[in-house]
Symmetry: C2
């Protein structure tokens, strides 16, 4: 049972965590924090949080768990703001989509990775954002990856694990660096491709006609291009090395396929497509 949870950044991710814990009866008071009083008031009106404070240092006072759900580019600033205001037994965790950069930010502010900090990442979300899009079942059956470092306390890890389990999520552990590589492959690269494709087509002169003839497959394929641009800019910068490496890997494979098309190499093209279908059918069940 969490007595007081402080959520910094009450959008889809933070708001859904609040709703899920409330529904599970796993939390006493929920305090929201960010710089935007209007957003926070909406979260109160929706019953997602109990109260809020736009003074982030004040908001975290007395909380036993602090969850940071802000764009990766804002993490360090938030760490600076909360330093010195945390309760003695507070555990801090986050929901950032890349983890090495968050660990670096924590180290920069505290000079080490404190024992009470548990880097985390719920693998859930939709292309929508904002507290209005939040719902209690967002995490049910989904994975949450925790990436404790060598200095993370077992008790802190256990408290964060219990919090996520109360939402119905399946909690896994992974090394920081490995997390960033896996996510670059399955999440960051696809977003980069979807954003690039839609922007590329939108710059064509016949863009209205092009989108008019787009079928359902295109709609599914480009859904993630409706994701929050600021959040994804931050992810691409924060996890830059892994993302760039994955894009280069993909580009090499795309070049090879294009070359096969130029040479009318039917067998090479078929092998790539058939292998892809087999893999996709296998993981999608």
């Amino acid at each position: 049972m969490i007595e007081r949870l402080c959520i910094v950044g009450v959008g889809l991710i933070g708001g859904s965590l609040a709703r899920a814990l409330r529904e599970a009866g796993a939390v006493g008071e929920i305090v929201g924090a960010s710089r935007n009083a209007e957003h926070l008031q909406r979260a109160v009106d929706l019953g997602v949080i109990d109260r809020f404070d736009t003074d982030i240092a004040a908001a975290v006072r007395g909380a036993d768990i602090v969850f940071l759900s802000v764009p990766l580019g804002a993490m360090r600033k938030v760490f600076e703001l909360i330093k010195g205001s945390l309760a003695g037994d507070a555990v801090v965790t986050d929901g950032g989509s890349a983890k090495a950069c968050v660990v670096t930010d924590v180290e920069a502010v505290w000079g080490e990775v404190p024992a009470w900090f548990v880097p985390g990442h719920p693998i859930a979300g939709t292309e929508r954002s904002g507290v209005e899009a939040s719902f209690a079942d967002l995490y049910r059956g989904k994975r949450v990856i925790l990436t404790p470092t060598a200095s993370t306390a077992a008790e802190a890890l256990q408290r964060v694990r219990a919090m996520w389990q109360a939402t119905g999520a399946v909690v896994k552990e992974m090394e920081v660096r490995h997390h960033d590589e896996v996510l670059a492959a399955t999440s960051h690269l696809p977003h980069v491709l979807a954003f690039t494709l839609v922007e590329s087509l939108a710059r064509m002169s016949e863009q209205r006609e092009i989108f008019e003839y787009a079928a359902g497959g295109f709609r599914d394929f480009t859904r993630i291009a409706s994701s929050d641009p600021v959040m994804w800019r931050d992810i691409c910068l924060a996890n830059r090395d892994a993302v760039v490496a994955m894009v280069e890997h993909f580009s090499n494979d795309l070049d090879a396929l294009t070359q096969a098309m130029r040479q009318r190499d039917a067998d090479a093209i078929l092998k790539i497509f058939a292998d892809a279908k087999a893999a996709r059918d296998a993981f999608a069940g």
Copy 2:
């Protein structure tokens, strides 16, 4: 009213056309044709077609409309098989995803584009294939593009248009070459990207783990990679020039974004992502 419709290739596309016309009361007899008696028998068992013939020349005899729904690579062979067996007033149309190649095949077999041939393309489908996946509402509200050539008879065009309208589809006309460019952008390129991405990830040593942590966005993004590999190989070869040009256009834009990431050019990255989101939100409504 179509008295006898012959469908060559009774899968998702041909089967759904049959079901839709039957439901609309717009067709008398439906004859299925292909080389696979087992598939055709299943189509009879499902009530999709009335009878079948694996002798394609025999199957088209006496039909007032012949619909070809075979992979693009098989079109020319089918044209050769039906030449000489068509009824005097028969109209022939097809559902191929690229149109210049089909027109070339027709010309190769008849020495010209006959007045009774109407190239067509229903912009509908799912990643599934086969007659079991067919359903009567597949075309409802969807676009069907007809690409008549200079020699196409107005009456033939009108009969094919009426057939598709009976399925609930919205029929549009477009020039052959323009069709192939628009479809390269909105359909062929996205399929190439999805196949390449999944195959690229599947070749990584940690593929099982990678797919395990894929979230809903990845599932949507890669759905089209479950499409029929043979059909898509044929499309890439048949519409090669337009597809290669679109891939090159995309690759240049992907390189520019990657360069912006390398240089940590936050503004350039944000502009691409924000423009993509705006375009995607606009067309997806």
